[in-house]
Symmetry: C2
Subunit: 606 residues, 2 copies
């Protein structure tokens, strides 16, 4: 058995299925394999952060996540009171990122999250091949082959675990290793992990808790004199306990290594009970899932080899589950990578575009483990009490919790300047930050006054979205727009050179959205020139909806002057890539010229 | 072929499928038949009003409606300007009901709306039998049989249209005739229609319009010197034109009767073009659906015979499509009827409860045709111009349009006092109107601060919802609640007598929701006594969510004093049935005693 594929993905965890679904939706020929005979059905990671919900929404998958998952809006903090008895010190919003579209975390077990992607992939004709593991991987060292984005320089041999001796060979243009913390791909490529292990040992157990603890449906961070514990509510009536363990609980006295056999879910819950005293937790009818782990914070030294083999997710960063980043970091890795692979494979983008994956995601991973190290230490520390002046105070913990809110929510992720992130004209929209994700903002559609979130108009469909903020449609402005349209229709304009609109929509590089200012009672969308109005639904208005409750104020919020014309370029992954005034379209041309391949056909046809 | 069913429904239009789905979900044994071999696939009624969207949401069906339908938020008005040329006089919100949860209309063709119910019915094991028409119907005149809610006093013979001569006999406990304006059931029972025909003739045509008319995606009411026209946007890029016709367009000069053969969609659009001049409408690629009709406003003299055979929907009221009530009035008829039939068939409610159907819905139908008569006249009238002082002015039309907003949206529907609507203690919540639907109001759940609309906690599941507004949980209040709980646990209390909580949930008469006031950072839901807290999710708090954007202010809005305990009884169809202070629970007992049957088993078990 021998086959050729555009992209081979090893591992169908969160990073793998995100990658596979995005590529399959983009029409890329993908093969995805996993060693497990069935997908994971319980336990493991379970928290989806606000930015990740936005990302799922951009693939049309958030609705199901929200339907199946449990929401966590509030966080409660428990510490010993002056008498040493555990008591609630306070509550705070679980999410402290003010622009989050979904200001909460969603808890849903990893298997259910994966299934959302697996079902979506199936609608694009792709299924996971399992149980399969890679046996060998070879990357060509022929530089000509490596430079040709359409060559097949990677040869992977796969073992079919259900049929001893059965092997197949896959020739792949690109390979993505999403094979977890013990990544075979990473190890085989000799990519090292930088970082270290801590001494903190934790246990996790999922149960349906019958308890008088009044914050069992909130995230609860508990620092008691008997240790630390975190409670996370889950689907249905389930609850997860993260429980700090002492060495004597879990270490083998002879080898000094962690021995899971020394623990059991019953024992874990007993430790939790001591920490939660005087609150009670009844013996549950059954234990759902449990494990123990040692916190380690590590980042892979590189994320790709020659931009032909990539690693993503746990394969390139490991950290504690405390900050709730598990699935999120992984899925956002391949969300970042997928559109780049798709555009390179279509011949629309230069292969160098793929370098921005490591550039952007390794920096993020480094920030993640730095944050996690600080937060985990605070969490595992003893509480400050009358007898322990050096302990962690509630104020200290809360400060760290809230300071990290932008980071843990994913909302604050900021990609540095690069080929695809150009901050030259940031002053044209000082509050719409280049390198950060386009925040949610409700506009009304000019044609029918229906409120629409801009995030729902910039789906992850591999296209760059060109948002033309055109202000009030005065007579002068309409003239300027006609002039702009003519410029953009010229074969020399980036819009024509790089493929719009002579190509089919699905394969197109750009989508155009025009955003007017004015009064919904008076404006007429029919005055926008045809090129800036590919469909009536693509003209928006910065005004409130008819109820007055939604929308409005976007020009002011972003700092965009409605007396000029401002172009905002949104990257296919939803991040602001560039901003420019109409007078600086040459800069936009240069931006795209740096990584985009001119389409000969498009120029001729235009 | 001979069978016995609880309820036989004749006709699978909007009234029929709403009825069938609600009854099937309630576990009632239903048979539904329709004369059409296939469901309607295009044209006909298409507007869903705000209250109807709320009702669909209460059955879990609004999501699909919103996904498939087009939304109409804005209305535009066109009249001749001073020079007699058609111009926009203004725009206004399409919906003027401030408490609407969905402040817009949804446009979706009748076939697609029916399909939503048909698919939901299928999940309860029910399909429409077709093509079948009733051939005869006999109602027993045995008074003993008629008084026994479980007897089968109706015998219906059905003809299978696809097999000539094939008949079946159905013995039904109840029959609902949802067989349209020319209802066979109504005619066979000799129920007369009261009202009259007008002289206004209108045409309807659906197309994808290529036009420079700037309000083609809004509802547009056009009064031109060449006649009147209404534009309604539809799914995708489709648009519906309602076009006023003159006698010469459509009347047969010999017979004086409307002759559809004298019209065609092309001719209809030509009339529209004259009305819309100087705006242009290009010749469409195809015509989707068209018809012509004469406006008539009529109401059936009665809606039931002996509370064993009912008629609903167009079978009992006909009116113009102008006010967009077509499907809405019909679906709300059987939404009103279904829970009553279900509770009678379960032996939980007295058969006399069924009398409230005609009481409530005939009054509504009368109001509807009164409104429609006035509105249609204004719409069909000539515009006021320099040459026509007697014409309809924009102000006059807008006033009627907005004054009717509460009515047309369905939000303002107000059921008069009856066995199930008791306004005695209205002063306990002066702004929560008894007889009107429970308005949307966001609370947060006390246990997890998740915002929830109260409408989503009172689904149409045939149960009465008991909303206990308990105010701040002071020590005194907790004592009062314990006392209240004890009272409600007593076998003599309505809660025990009429079936809670000893019966299974699905068959239960009541659901309990407790609504506290206080600060989400401090309250503890665990302090609410168990009887008032059947599950942690059933305790709500009148506070904003963590973002501060949703919820809060409900006590003030409804005028409920948080220093007392107030019980609000919501009927199974979402209408406020009764309100009472904790000191007047005897009145609540009397309310239920009037139509509810004590459950012997429940009393003994309690």
């Amino acid at each position: 058995m021998e086959s050729h594929v555009d992209v081979l993905i090893v591992g169908a965890g969160p990073a793998g299925v995100m990658c596979a679904n995005a590529l399959a939706a983009a029409g890329v020929h993908v093969k995805i394999v996993d060693q497990r005979p069935l997908k994971v059905s319980t336990g493991q990671a379970d928290g989806i952060q606000p930015r990740t919900i936005e990302v799922l929404q951009s693939y049309g998958l958030a609705e199901r996540l929200l339907k199946e998952g449990c929401q966590m809006h509030m966080c409660a903090f428990y510490n010993p009171d002056d008498g040493g008895v555990l008591a609630r010190t306070g509550r705070a919003p679980d999410i402290t990122a003010p622009t989050a579209r979904y200001p909460f975390e969603v808890l849903l077990n990893q298997g259910a999250v994966e299934q959302i992607f697996v079902d979506s992939m199936a609608s694009h004709g792709l299924t996971v091949d399992r149980p399969i593991v890679p046996a060998s991987i070879e990357l060509s060292d022929d530089s000509e082959q490596l430079e040709d984005p359409f060559s097949y320089p990677v040869k992977v041999t796969l073992d079919h675990l259900d049929t001893p001796g059965k092997q197949e060979i896959v020739h792949a243009r690109y390979v993505v290793g999403c094979d977890g913390a013990h990544s075979w791909v990473r190890k085989t490529l000799n990519i090292t992990m930088d970082g270290e292990q801590t001494d903190y040992i934790w246990g996790v157990v999922d149960i349906v808790a019958d308890t008088d603890f009044p914050d069992v449906r909130n995230r609860s961070a508990i620092h008691s004199t008997n240790g630390s514990c975190m409670i996370i509510p889950r689907e249905g009536d389930k609850v997860r306990f993260y429980i700090q363990l002492s060495d004597s609980d879990v270490l083998d006295p002879v080898s000094g290594r962690v021995d899971k056999n020394r623990m059991s879910p019953e024992k874990l819950l007993d430790v939790a009970r001591k920490i939660l005293h005087p609150y009670k937790v009844d013996e549950p009818k059954k234990y759902d899932w449990w494990t123990i782990y040692i916190i380690g914070q590590r980042v892979a030294s590189r994320f790709s080899v020659n931009e032909r083999i990539f690693i993503a997710g746990d394969a390139c960063h490991t950290h504690s589950p405390k900050a709730g980043q598990g699935m999120n970091a992984s899925m956002n890795d391949t969300h970042n990578l997928a559109w780049k692979l798709a555009q390179v494979l279509r011949g629309r983008a230069d292969i160098s575009l793929l370098k921005t994956y490591e550039l952007e995601r390794r920096k993020y991973a480094q920030d993640l483990i730095d944050f996690d190290r600080e937060f985990s230490t605070l969490f595992s520390g003893k509480p400050r009490t009358v007898d322990n002046d050096d302990g962690v105070s509630h104020e200290q913990f809360l400060r760290a919790f809230q300071a990290g809110g932008g980071f843990t929510s994913g909302i604050g992720v900021h990609y540095m300047p690069s080929a695809i992130t150009n901050a030259t004209h940031q002053q044209c929209a000082p509050h719409l930050i280049i390198g950060e994700r386009m925040p949610p903002q409700v506009f009304v559609r000019a044609a029918d006054a229906r409120p629409y979130d801009i995030q729902d108009m910039i789906p992850s469909d591999t296209r760059f979205k060109l948002l033309f903020f055109v202000g009030h449609l005065t007579e002068d402005r309409v003239r300027e727009l006609k002039f702009l349209s003519e410029g953009l229709s010229d074969p020399s304009s980036f819009l024509q050179k790089y493929g719009y609109p002579s190509q089919g929509v699905a394969q197109s590089m750009f989508d155009i959205i025009t955003i007017m200012s004015g009064d919904k009672g008076e404006i007429e969308y029919t005055r926008v020139p045809a090129l800036l109005r590919p469909h009536w639904s693509k003209v928006l208005l910065d005004d409130t909806d008819v109820s007055g409750k939604l929308g409005g104020g976007a020009y002011k919020r972003f700092g965009i002057d409605p007396r000029g014309i401002t172009l905002v370029v949104i990257r296919p992954d939803g991040y602001v890539g560039m901003i420019a005034p109409a007078s600086a379209l040459d800069d936009v041309d240069n931006y795209f010229a740096a990584f985009t391949i001119p389409q000969e056909g498009a120029v001729e046809e235009a």
